[in-house]
């Protein structure tokens, strides 16, 4: 009987929390839908405002002078319809899961994204993992060594990392590791003598292993190293600066001083109190950094001939390829929305004070 009396409130609390979570997720879902609708509208209007259109970027000058060719192009891509009709046709197709056909590649935008997103993931995931490990470790180290030589070195390095243009850094590492040292491939996802494996995950290194080709997988890993290195340097600088700042703030809290005054070992204070409290804001910036990596690291992908979302977006923008631009914008919006949602949920896990309920 006693057991029943104590168990009932526990289940109720979980149920209440479950309902709250569901309501929260539903609310976020609705907000996301409205947000994505806004993204499509704003992107559509912005692309229209840019001087030039896909036709002038695609057809030759001689073809542009031929009314029949111009008419055929406009009809083929629905450009002969009024703008609002084009937009609503796009929205209608979108609801059916159809992102349209890229004027640049001639393939469905969804198919393009399914091809290029895994390529970006292949360098973004390891870069993010490395950045987190290094960023948290170095940021914490700098905070602990606040004002001393170690901290100064880290701050200078961070400044250097933040102010280094990705394009320049990519060329620099390519020059050093490929040209001077000859220890790395120059670009692409795979040496050209390999016939790429069948796409299963889209990650060439993984797909090569699944195809029973460890040598090919190793070749793919080697090709990923330099882009990962550059992305890591660029991301880690942001993280270190943020982690250092967050940890310094926590280290300055009274309860940390109290914990130290109580004689708790420094290791325990750092691990149990400082790191945990300092991680909350770090999660936000990590989420944004990861979203930025996923949504396209244009210049890095360009230099390393890495066929990812960044390169796709760059070429879509160059050709004013409306369906592709809208597709990439939508993808970026989804990535940021999902990452923000995950970040918000992680808050609750790390800091009990920030629970959904």
């Amino acid at each position: 009987m006693t057991t029943t009396l104590t168990a009932q409130p526990q289940r109720s609390r979980w149920r209440v929390q479950g309902y709250a979570l569901a309501a929260y997720l539903l609310r976020r879902l609705v907000i996301t839908a409205v947000l994505l609708l806004g993204v499509t509208l704003v992107t559509f209007i912005l692309v229209q405002l840019v001087p030039g259109d896909s036709m002038t970027a695609t057809l030759s000058e001689a073809a542009l002078a031929d009314p029949e060719i111009v008419a055929a192009y406009r009809q083929r891509w629905g450009l002969d319809e009024p703008l609002y009709v084009q937009y609503f046709v796009y929205l209608g197709n979108l609801l059916g899961g159809d992102l349209g056909v890229s004027q640049q590649t001639g393939r469905s935008v969804l198919q393009d994204l399914l091809t290029y997103v895994p390529a970006t993931m292949e360098i973004a995931l390891p870069a993010m993992a490395l950045s987190l490990v290094i960023g948290v470790a170095v940021g914490l180290y700098a905070a602990v060594r606040h004002g001393r030589a170690g901290d100064q070195v880290v701050r200078a390095g961070t400044l250097l990392g933040l102010s280094t243009p990705p394009f320049w850094l990519s060329l620099l590492v390519l020059y050093v590791f490929f040209f001077v040292l000859g220890v790395s491939p120059s670009g692409g996802r795979l040496s050209t003598y390999w016939v790429p494996p069948d796409q299963v995950t889209g990650l060439v290194s993984v797909d090569a292993l699944l195809a029973g080709e460890p040598a090919m997988a190793w070749d793919a890993v080697q090709h990923a190293v330099l882009p990962v290195l550059v992305l890591t340097v660029l991301t880690v600088a942001t993280l270190v600066r943020f982690v250092r700042s967050a940890m310094l703030e926590v280290l300055d809290q009274d309860y940390i001083r109290a914990a130290r005054a109580k004689g708790l070992p420094r290791r325990t204070v750092l691990a149990s109190h400082v790191l945990r409290a300092g991680l909350v804001p770090v999660i936000t910036v990590s989420g944004l950094a990861f979203a930025a990596l996923l949504s396209g690291t244009v210049l890095v992908e360009q230099i390393f001939s890495w066929p990812g979302v960044g390169q796709y977006a760059y070429r879509a923008a160059s050709a004013l390829d409306m369906p592709a631009i809208l597709g990439v914008s939508l993808f970026v919006a989804v990535v940021y929305t999902v990452v923000n949602l995950v970040v918000d949920l992680l808050y609750g896990l790390i800091d009990p004070r920030i629970r959904v309920a």
């Binding site: 030039g52 008419a71 393939r107 914490l140 003598y193 070429r315």
Partner: protein, 544 residues
């Protein structure tokens, strides 16, 4: 103790990450060293000669011959689809047989009769017939894609098996050259029709084969399409059924690589590799072991709008001449690199019809001052619009700045107006830009195609307000003489006269010729730049 332990963990984390990175980097050393291409058959790759890597920064919309327009698309399509005739190496003056073993032309150059070889077969083993040729040419016209302009006014028919007759609405001695273009590649009509292709007049809306042709080639060329990723690479493999001499490589990978990366890659290249974008300054300091083949096939020019409503200044003929006389053509050409030349006329030296080098335009500041005085315009200021791009290794802003400097010395103030390429093209198409600068290549390797574009009243001329009414009768007649020429030789002569008049009267100031370039490793044979449109003939490239 606790502090030391914490520090050691942090250090360990950093060290581990660094070690992982370095280990992976170092491991790359055993690879081919960039872009592959090197023979490494021990680890599963092909033997030397197995794979050729072609690096180029590309945008390719389609590998359907009826739609292909960009240079890289032409490169690949030319390797996969045979045409009636073709060109060898860099010579684009003499078409040579391919699917047609011989051809005849009537007296007024309006009817061309091609006799097909009996040997040719498609990659599925089926013979190439006259029906396939007729289908492919008529489809190209009716699809109304970008390359349709090349066959405007042409129609194909077959009076008997093995014979194709192509008629032209107007005399046109260049029909064989036009039919050598990759866009005129011959499709297996039966298979193409099964995939939705049509050569009917409504092909622009009814044809549905382009998607299929982006994944599977239906030609009779030495290579077939293995895969096509519009963003990253085109992979061709040898056609085992090829009816001619076996191709040089088992596999050709055309990789999308930025020019800067191409330079680094070629500088350390091993095995069979080719780069197509190393022009201008990018050619400097390359290893001497590399082969370089170049041909001047592009011209750079200024356009001044002739409509006074658009600009009173640029439409003043004396102002145009003043500006023409102010340019330091030698100095400007030097900015493009060693392979560039000051322009003599509009036709680059790669093509028959170019003016001799010793007729290259000269700077004459005294003449510029006289022309400016005659124009009646005091202290003119004009805005120069140009695309803010690097083209063939040269930043166009550098050239525009040189123009600004030269004109400034003649008392003409030029204000630079760089634009993103899409904006530039839009403004150019709208035809309301007073003063612009851009590069130009030929649609197909026939100099007279420029007359179709730049003569008064033609498409490009109209975009600069140069109507027949605003041109002299002499200028109009010179253009008509080019178009009326019944054979290539008289057309070449007429082209020269047309260009000389162009230099005196037109709103176009040609500045310099620049080269297309092929850079290849020493193991690659036949890597010669072709101004025919396909840059390098992958059919002719083989290990040496």
């Amino acid at each position: 103790m606790g502090v030391r332990s914490s520090r050691s963990r942090i250090v360990a984390a950093v060290a581990t990450a660094a070690a992982l990175t370095l280990t992976a980097c170092t491991a790359g050393g055993s690879g081919s060293g960039g872009g592959g291409g090197a023979a490494t058959d021990d680890d599963g790759g092909s033997a030397q000669g197995g794979t050729l890597t072609v690096s180029t920064s590309f945008v390719v919309n389609s590998l359907d011959p009826g739609q292909v327009y960009e240079a890289t698309g032409a490169l690949a399509v030319h390797a996969m689809y045979d045409t009636l005739v073709t060109f060898e190496g860099s010579d684009v003056s003499t078409p040579v047989p391919l699917l047609a073993e011989s051809w005849e032309v009537n007296d007024d150059a309006t009817e061309f009769t091609f006799t097909l070889t009996e040997d040719a077969v498609f990659s599925d083993g089926e013979p190439v017939t006259a029906e396939d040729v007729v289908f492919s040419i008529n489809r190209l016209h009716n699809l109304q894609g970008s390359p349709a302009v090349t066959v405007e006014g042409l129609a194909a028919s077959s009076p008997e098996e093995g014979v194709v007759v192509v008629t032209s609405e107007v005399p046109n001695p260049n029909v064989p050259t036009i039919l050598a273009m990759p866009a005129a590649g011959v499709l297996n009509s039966e298979q193409a029709s099964a995939e939705g292709a049509t050569d009917a007049e409504d092909a622009a809306s009814a044809d549905a084969a382009t998607d299929f042709l982006n994944t599977t080639s239906l030609g009779s060329g030495p290579y077939v399409l293995d895969s096509f990723d519009p963003a990253s690479e085109i992979v061709l493999t040898a056609n085992p059924e090829y009816w001619g001499e076996a191709p040089g490589y088992e596999r050709i990978v055309v990789s999308n690589v930025e020019a800067e990366t191409q330079k680094l890659t070629m500088a350390r290249a091993e095995g069979d590799q080719v780069a197509l974008d190393l022009s201008g300054r990018l050619l400097e300091d390359l290893p001497e072991t590399l082969q370089v083949s170049a041909s001047q096939d592009t011209f750079y020019f200024l356009t001044l709008h002739q409509d006074p409503a658009i600009s009173e200044i640029t439409s003043n003929p004396d102002f145009v001449q003043a500006l023409r006389a102010s340019i330091d053509y030698q100095g400007l050409a030097a900015l493009f690199g060693e392979d560039a030349l000051p322009a003599a006329g509009m036709v680059p030296t790669a093509f028959p019809g170019a003016l001799p080098e010793d007729e290259a335009q000269q700077r004459d500041l005294d003449a510029a001052a006289d022309f400016l005085a005659d124009s009646g315009i005091e202290d003119p200021t004009v805005e120069l619009m140009y695309p803010a791009i690097t083209y063939r290794g040269v930043d166009l802003a550098t050239i525009a700045t040189k123009i600004q400097f030269d004109a400034g010395e003649a008392g003409i103030e030029v204000v630079l107006d760089p634009q993103p390429i899409a904006s530039f093209l839009e403004a150019q198409t709208a035809g309301e830009v007073p003063f612009r600068f851009s590069p130009q290549s030929l649609n197909y390797p026939v100099a007279s195609s420029l007359v179709n574009n730049f003569a008064p009243g033609q498409a490009s001329a109209l975009r600069s307000g140069w109507t027949e009414e605003r041109a002299s009768e002499e200028m109009v007649a010179a253009g008509e003489a080019v178009q009326a020429a019944g054979d290539a030789e008289s057309q070449v002569e007429a082209m020269r006269e047309w260009q000389e008049l162009l230099n005196e009267q037109s709103p176009f100031i040609t500045l310099a010729y620049n080269s297309g370039v092929v850079v290849a490793t020493e193991t690659v044979g036949g890597a010669e730049y072709s101004p025919a449109g396909w840059q390098v003939d992958l059919r002719a490239v083989a290990p040496q």
